[in-house]
């Protein structure tokens, strides 16, 4: 029986503001438990939330980056439920007037995964289970989140992964979050159901606790299999919340959702309605950087760079900025790219290294080096050696390549060298005259060696052939 998949994803992303959404506590990850707290984010009696304006700006920016329409008028709502990690017994979120609506993420295939809404809300604290007890750490409580809800447009685990990866790329590049799934700054809850072609959609389940992009695929495959088994046996799928466990590579039922939770949403009385003017939206839109997919297109289509090489840098905001800056100074794009992926990447090996981009030289220094390759003053291999040294010391190219190294070969010197090559290789000369043209390579070798790579091979060939005649 071949089933069709219907899938939608809810993504929670922690915004990279310095302070929390409703108070001035730091959002910094880690720290001793309950040290990044205050009366507001621990829900002390008498405390009041103060909405952080930068959260709204970041959320608008995120919405614009995925083509959303921004609601100029908006407000916060209380979502009431009881759980130890929720100090006020309600989460301040948005219910019926989300800040952003109707966006989309375009996959490589051209298919658009529509985004129904993006809203802002506060994160809850963290529960830590240890020795039979449960501890609550409120450091994370109040960290600003955006919740991005996609429509059920996703039809395969691979599409799901691609959607999540593109969201991650976009949000990182736009600078609103570092989107690290393993640290929890990006969390994906995947909703899936299966049905026979032509039949109505099946009952859906929600899978939580997926901590990496590849586990999205794995968790979906497992759950699809589970649902297929149930339906094949003639049973019904029960609406439930599932949990994916990476250690055991299993998906299991956490709780069944036969009755929907009643959160008794009502407008938050402590925070007044807010208004983001159309002018402000445009101001924010103007700060949007070129997004990764657009960059890739530009590198491949406009600059003619090889796609597989361009893909090695396009994701990383700092790397592409470094690349573009060097190219804008006049350094050849192909050579800059090659230098980055061969030598700079030797120093920035992990994803994290590439994101942080902690190197000792500037794009200007790289440009200066590459220009020498472009004008054939030095060869690529030599350049790589020099670059490696520059990366270690932070010094300019002039430290390593002196003036005389760069001095070009004069025509007389070249002619002399060519003559020298001919004199030193009489047998080769014979061979050439007898039609074994490949013998000329020996001459080239001589000339290159003795010119320390500076000779122009084409010119040398002309001269040698002329001299041999």
């Amino acid at each position: 029986m071949s089933y069709q998949l219907v899938c939608g994803i809810e993504t929670h992303i922690e915004l990279a503001t310095k302070t929390k959404i409703f108070c001035g506590c730091t959002t910094q990850f880690g720290g001793e438990p309950n040290t990044h707290c205050c009366p507001v984010c621990t829900g002390q009696p008498g405390s009041l939330p103060i909405l952080n304006r930068q959260v709204i700006e970041f959320a608008v920016k995120a919405g614009l980056a995925v083509n959303c329409k921004i609601n100029n008028n908006s407000h916060m709502d209380r979502k009431n439920y009881v759980y130890p990690d929720l100090p006020k017994a309600y989460q301040i979120s948005q219910f019926d007037e989300p800040l952003c609506v109707d966006g989309y993420v375009e996959l490589d295939s051209g298919k658009k995964i529509r985004i129904e809404r993006i809203h802002i809300e506060e994160d809850a604290g963290k529960l830590v289970h240890d020795g039979g007890y449960t501890y609550v750490d409120y450091n994370r409580g109040g960290v600003p989140l955006i919740e991005i809800v996609s429509m059920a447009d996703i039809s395969s685990p691979e599409e799901a992964r691609e959607y999540a990866e593109k969201l991650q790329l976009i949000m990182r590049n736009v600078g609103v979050s570092d989107c690290k799934m393993q640290e929890g700054s990006m969390r994906c809850d995947v909703n899936i159901s299966i049905h026979q072609p032509g039949e109505p959609w099946g009952t859906r389940t929600e899978i939580k606790n997926i901590n990496s992009l590849s586990n999205i695929v794995r968790a979906m495959e497992l759950e699809m299999e589970r649902q297929e088994d149930i339906l094949d046996a003639g049973d019904k799928v029960i609406q439930s919340t599932m949990r994916y466990d990476a250690n055991s590579d299993t998906v299991y039922v956490l709780r069944s959702k036969e009755n929907a939770d009643d959160y008794r949403y009502f407008p938050e009385p402590d925070i007044l309605r807010f208004y983001v003017s159309p002018e402000k939206v445009e101001e924010i839109r103007a700060t949007l950087p070129e997004l990764p997919d657009a960059k890739l297109k530009r590198y491949v289509d406009d600059m003619g760079l090889p796609e597989n090489n361009a893909r090695l840098i396009y994701k990383y905001r700092n790397v592409t900025r470094f690349f573009d800056d060097a190219v804008n100074e006049g350094a050849g794009a192909g050579n800059v790219l090659n230098m980055i992926i061969s030598t700079v990447y030797a120093v920035l090996q992990t994803e994290e290294d590439k994101e942080n981009f902690d190197i000792k030289i500037t794009s200007h220094q790289l440009a200066e080096l590459v220009k020498l390759i472009d004008s054939k003053k030095i060869r690529a291999n030599k350049a790589k050696e020099v670059l490696a040294q520059m990366l270690e010391s932070g010094k300019d190219v002039t430290e390593y390549i002196k003036a005389e190294d760069l001095a070009g070969l004069s025509d007389e010197d070249l002619k002399a060298l060519c003559q020298g090559a001919i004199d030193a290789n009489p047998k080769a000369v014979e061979d050439i005259k007898n039609g074994k043209d490949k013998a000329i390579n020996v001459m080239f070798g001589y000339v290159m060696k003795n010119s320390r790579g500076k000779a122009d091979v084409k010119k040398a060939e002309e001269i040698i052939r002329e001299l041999i005649k």
Partner: protein, 486 residues
Amino acid sequence: MKEIIAPLSKMLSSGEISSVELTEKYISAIEQDNKIYNAYVSTTFDKAIENAKAADKMIAEGKASLLTGIPMTLKDNICSDGDFTTCCSKILEGFRPYYDSTVWTKLKAQGAVMLGKTNMDEFAMGSTSETSCYGAPLNPRNTNHVTGGSSGGVASAVCANIAAYGLGSDTGGSVRQPASFCGIVGLKPTYGAVSRYGLIAYGSSLDQIGVLSNSVKDAAIVFDTISGVDSNDQTSVDFDFGNIAESLDEADIKGMKIGIAQEYFEGINGEIKDAIFEAVKFFEDNGAEIVDIKLPVLKQALPVYYIIACAEASSNLGRYDGIRYGYRPESFNDVEEMILKTRTEGFGDEVKRRIMLGTYVLSSGYYDAYYKKACLLRENIIADFEDIFNQCDIIIAPTAPNTAFPLNFKGASPVDMYLSDIATVPINITGVPAISVPVKNDSNGLPIGMQIIGKKFSEKTIMNAAYFYEKNADVQVKDFEGGVAL
């Protein structure tokens, strides 16, 4: 009605008495009289002496203001760092906030002296202060009668002269009605005029911190200090009231248009009606113009109030679960049981009643019929009041449909009690300011209060009218004899 703050301030700055000496007087009075009135539920005498010493220093350095060195009280739902603040509820037993409310921060900066926290209905839910877990405070005018609520303890202490003034909270009348029952002055400011940061929340869109005092001038002096926009409260408003206390000396009501709505007098007992109309006549005789106004929405104000207040309260009180602060039961098997037991054992009946009511009106299937409808009606009531204030400058009405009930009055069901809020709740729904001043006693010797209501941010206007009345009318509520004498 006697002014207390300015005369005391003069005595302090002239060196006639030090703040420490004055504070010690209040402390003795409390030690003696609180046994009778049960006004204070916790005292902060050591802190008070410290405050007093700091005040004396300020006075010596010439940095004193009117409130410097004067002993006062906070209702038990207003936070101060390190002091028990329990909302007179078992569920907050032992709770000491680790931060100061904005109002206390402001008063402390002026050198105010805090004597302790005063009694109230549990979580400010009630009109008699009898739901307090510490037992009811008693009305100094007649200790067989209630003080009113929910700021009953504050009213009792201020009336009995065991606090020079006090801060209470008013969500549906909780400052004005006890002021009326005890024969003192009670001011509820415009919503947003005074920061709510540090006020333990009951109904967030209705709560305001108010002043209870023995005279209008005292209320004005305190209001001038505690009002002002606060970055810790996004619902607070930046409005320049000017110095209202100073403006009072020029108080005049000539030409003032006073609105009287028949709807406010329906179902009010005869003696109260007569007393208010007498006061209105006084205004008329002194040059005010009486305008007949219509407020047909008034009777809808009560259900609107109870739906909104209970809804907000059901959410605001969700945090009391025994995890971070307050009461926690002795034994339980898991978190869920702990939370259930905490709330079952920690909350009183009236609080539980309102939480259930609030949860119900917000629940799926009922939200539209109750909460949403109440919010829409609220908009209508606000619009009607705005309209009224185009026709008149102030509205005069009774503060309560009755005078102080006897203690343990069994004649009323919870809903009957709610109905007694009819005169005060419209003010909280619309967010406008109102002040209650004593007029005369009823035939049982219990005070009757008159409410002077203005449009938003018209504190100066209503206090001017109240001051004029207090100074020039024949107010037949006597100054209380007892406590600290000036």
